[in-house]
């Protein structure tokens, strides 16, 4: 390698998530500066880069609720050597998957046409808008995921610990206290 200090290139994104996991990532506070010595960010809400280039690591928050999510996930899988599902939504579908027992047609109809206060409603059909999937899926239903980081959101310490393990070449392990489900 040309330089030993070559930084790891990292991309992150939020699919069907609430940005809570990204907020938790920011919660590592001043350790962010330490992290930035080791990594540089590619596509990420932190950089506003729109498309992912070749990366060492991809971190994804949120599951899959629409066609665009699937496209972004595939772009990440193609570009990143290692892909991490971060948070309950990415790992299991999480909160958005609560809609899975409803018929998506009924959902759209209720929200856009028959709900209270709606007159002359219609279901948006602009091709610019991604269509929702009939059910919300976790990431590993569509591509291979290398690591799962559970929690809703995973605590900042867990993310920090996890990234350190990964950067140092250790298989990440989350010990007692770092796995939270609420």
């Amino acid at each position: 390698m040309a330089s030993e200090k070559k930084k790891l290139r990292v991309a992150t994104t939020s699919l069907a998530g609430c940005f809570g996991c990204h907020m938790s990532l920011l919660d590592i506070d001043e350790r962010l500066l330490e992290l930035l010595k080791l990594v540089e960010f590619d596509r990420s809400p932190l950089t506003d880069i729109k498309h992912c280039g070749p990366c060492d690591l991809g971190i994804i928050e949120g599951g899959l609720c629409n066609a665009e999510n699937v496209h972004v996930l595939r772009e990440f899988r193609k570009s990143c050597k290692v892909l991490v599902a971060m948070g309950a939504c990415a790992v299991n579908g999480g909160l958005p998957a609560q809609r899975n027992h409803l018929d998506i047609r009924d959902c759209l109809q209720t929200v856009y046409m028959t709900g209270t206060g709606i007159r002359r409603g219609f279901i948006p059909n602009d091709p610019e808008l991604p269509l929702p999937l009939d059910r919300v899926h976790p990431l590993h239903d569509v591509v291979k995921i290398d690591y799962f980081l559970p929690g809703c959101p995973p605590p900042a310490d867990a993310i920090w610990h996890f990234l350190n393990d990964l950067l140092a070449g250790r298989t990440p392990t989350l010990g007692h206290g770092l796995i939270h489900y609420d």
């Binding site: 699937v70 018929d103 998506i104 047609r105 759209l108 279901i123 999937l133 059910r135 899926h137 569509v142």
Partner: protein
């Protein structure tokens, strides 16, 4: 409404222990349990409302919303499916223009599925408002649909529709020994309780309900356990798909089973006994009550039985409400106490802390029937048949691809081949012994023997010929466990759901090699860490199949290491439908575009 409730409550002496029985009557009379009913029952029984609601919500046969005037449930065991139940259900759904599991718009009917109803030798079967109808054909479905359309009350339906046949194809020790009612009781009295227990112990009789615990040891421990009262429970929950031998024992040998319970009561010093009968067998209820009444009249139940002062014993029948887990003895006891059927922590075991925390013997129907003869004829009666560690015979329920489905009693040690020959099975691909929680055997294992030392069985013996798809069999088993998991512990609640998802994806051709590994991993986690036997055995069939039927999986695997586990494009179809879109962006490719 609340006047009816008063009558039901009075019938059950306002006893909260009888809550499951009370709710059964409510469903019988009202069709479902409304929130208002739950509130009233809670008040009148002085129970927290959540307690009543929890019990109502636990059991499959307690609908808490209107389920239609006719609630039709197709038995969904793999043997029903093999006999054509899916097509028949589809016909009926179309005839009433109703979706699976939903109530028709006019509130007339709901059509859904239920776990195996124990009529596998005369399937496909269904329950209509709890009443069993076997041997379904297109013609039967046609006339049933017509009667529902015409809103004919169930009591006016032709009686032969409900006829349950008994097919006993081979009798051995148990089924051919005659019983004079009271003879075993007399033998026990003559010998005294301690010697009676000793005799059952000496016979080496082991439980026929699954676990195979030595019956005499169980009775001895119960007898020795201190308590205010002792109880005897006959486990007639028979929920393991493919098992129907207890049904036949209770229809044709009821006296013998009650004789066994009474002997057990004498041996352990019990005054009260329960028969926990699965709800799927309502047709047994009246004949069993009649047998009990006769036995009371003959002095074989009640006070001072056979003139022995202090030998008081009577039997109550409790009916379940559609929960496989209630066959697990501690869950069964919870259910007997009017609670949700969630298995207890064990130890303590029922023998020291069972019904109302008192010493309780729980035995399978077949075990008790055999115990009666052991007490009557001596320990050797049983030991003339069987093997060293499996004394006597086993009653098998044979179903699936065989010429003569039914009941076969064989000595322990009989080979799978012998059973297959007897029942007329050809082109055998696989046999599932002991039900979905048991063992899956391949064609090459016909030398294996039915006995505790090799292939134990609680009684089910389902045969699949070469035309069957093993993955569909596994998918059916996995759905059964996912549906029946009581949800108390995470390995089973989540594991059974994962297993069902993985198997259904694999069966549809959306699986990869990695999924095979994951499937095995989930099965092992369930086995190692579940709270009760349901979760511990829920992965058995999949593990067996991964070992013995690997090509059945492999031929459906994609070549990629990972591929989507569902049809991506189809999953956009509902949204396409309501938006009317069909542009490029409204579609997804299954494999990634380069």
């Amino acid at each position: 409404m609340s006047r009816d409730l008063s009558a039901i409550l009075a019938r059950h002496q306002h006893d909260p222990l009888r809550l499951v029985q009370i709710l059964r009557d409510v469903v019988e009379e009202h069709g479902f349990i409304s929130p208002g009913t739950i509130t009233t029952l809670a008040e009148r029984l002085s129970l927290p409302r959540g307690r009543v609601e929890g019990v109502a919500g636990f059991y499959a046969f307690f609908p808490t919303e209107n389920a239609g005037r006719y609630r039709v449930l197709f038995s969904d065991n793999i043997t029903d499916r093999m006999a054509g139940s899916v097509e028949l259900r589809q016909r009926m759904l179309e005839a009433f223009q109703v979706r699976d599991g939903e109530v028709s718009r006019d509130g007339l009917v709901s059509i859904g599925t239920t776990s195996c109803t124990g009529l596998c030798d005369q399937g496909p079967a269904m329950l209509v408002n709890g009443r069993a109808i076997p041997r379904l054909t297109r013609a039967r479905i046609g006339s049933i649909s017509a009667m529902i359309h015409g809103q004919a009350p169930l009591d006016t339906w032709p009686a032969n529709l409900f006829d349950i046949h008994t097919h006993i194809e081979r009798k051995d020790l148990l089924l051919s020994t005659p019983l004079a009612a009271g003879a075993a009781i007399d033998a026990a009295i003559a010998r005294g309780p301690d010697a009676t227990v000793a005799q059952v112990k000496a016979s080496n009789l082991r439980g026929r309900g699954g676990a195979g615990f030595t019956t005499g040891v169980k009775w001895e421990m119960c007898r020795a356990a201190p308590g205010e009262a002792h109880y005897v429970v006959c486990n007639a929950d028979e929920g393991e798909p493919g098992t129907f031998k207890d049904r036949v024992l209770l229809s044709d040998y009821a006296d013998l089973v009650f004789e066994g319970m009474t002997v057990a009561a004498f041996a352990v010093g019990a005054k009260r006994g329960f028969l926990y009968l699965r709800a799927e067998y309502p047709f047994l209820l009246a004949p069993l009550e009649a047998t009990l009444a006769e036995r009371r009249k003959a002095g074989l139940l009640g006070k001072s039985i056979r003139g022995v002062a202090d030998f008081d014993f009577d039997i109550e029948i409790h009916v379940g409400a559609g929960a496989y887990v209630c066959g697990e003895e501690s869950a069964l006891i919870e259910s007997l106490e009017g609670k949700r059927g969630i298995p207890r922590n064990r130890p303590p075991y029922p023998v020291t802390s069972g019904y109302l925390q008192q010493p309780t013997v729980v035995n399978n129907v077949e075990t008790l029937a055999k115990a009666a003869f052991v007490v009557m004829h001596g320990a050797d009666w049983l030991r003339v048949r069987g093997t060293g560690r499996s004394a006597g015979t086993k009653v098998l329920s044979v179903s699936g691809d065989v010429a003569r489905p039914g009941i076969y009693e064989l000595p322990f040690g009989a080979t799978v081949r012998e059973v297959l020959d007897l029942c007329g099975a050809t082109d055998v691909q696989a046999v599932q012994v002991g039900g979905p929680s048991g063992m899956l055997l391949s064609r090459s294992e016909q030398h294996r023997r039915i006995m505790f030392e090799d292939v134990p069985s609680a009684g089910a013996f389902m045969v699949f010929d070469d035309s069957r798809d093993i993955l569909q069999v596994l998918e059916n088993f996995a759905s059964f466990f996912a549906h029946e998991s009581c949800g108390f512990c995470t390995p089973c609640r989540v594991g059974t759901a994962l297993q069902r998802r993985m198997l259904s994806a694999l069966a549809k051709g959306y699986g990869t090699r990695r999924d095979l590994k994951d499937l095995a991993r989930v099965a092992k986690v369930m086995k190692a860490s579940s709270h009760c036997g349901l979760g511990a055995t829920a992965g058995n069939a999949a593990l067996d199949a991964l070992e013995k039927f690997k090509p059945a999986f492999e031929k459906r695997l994609g070549t990629l290491e990972v591929m989507p586990t569902f049809d991506l494009d189809r999953s956009l179809a509902p949204a396409r439908e309501v938006t009317g879109r069909d542009d490029d962006e409204a579609h997804l490719s299954h494999e990634e575009e380069e």
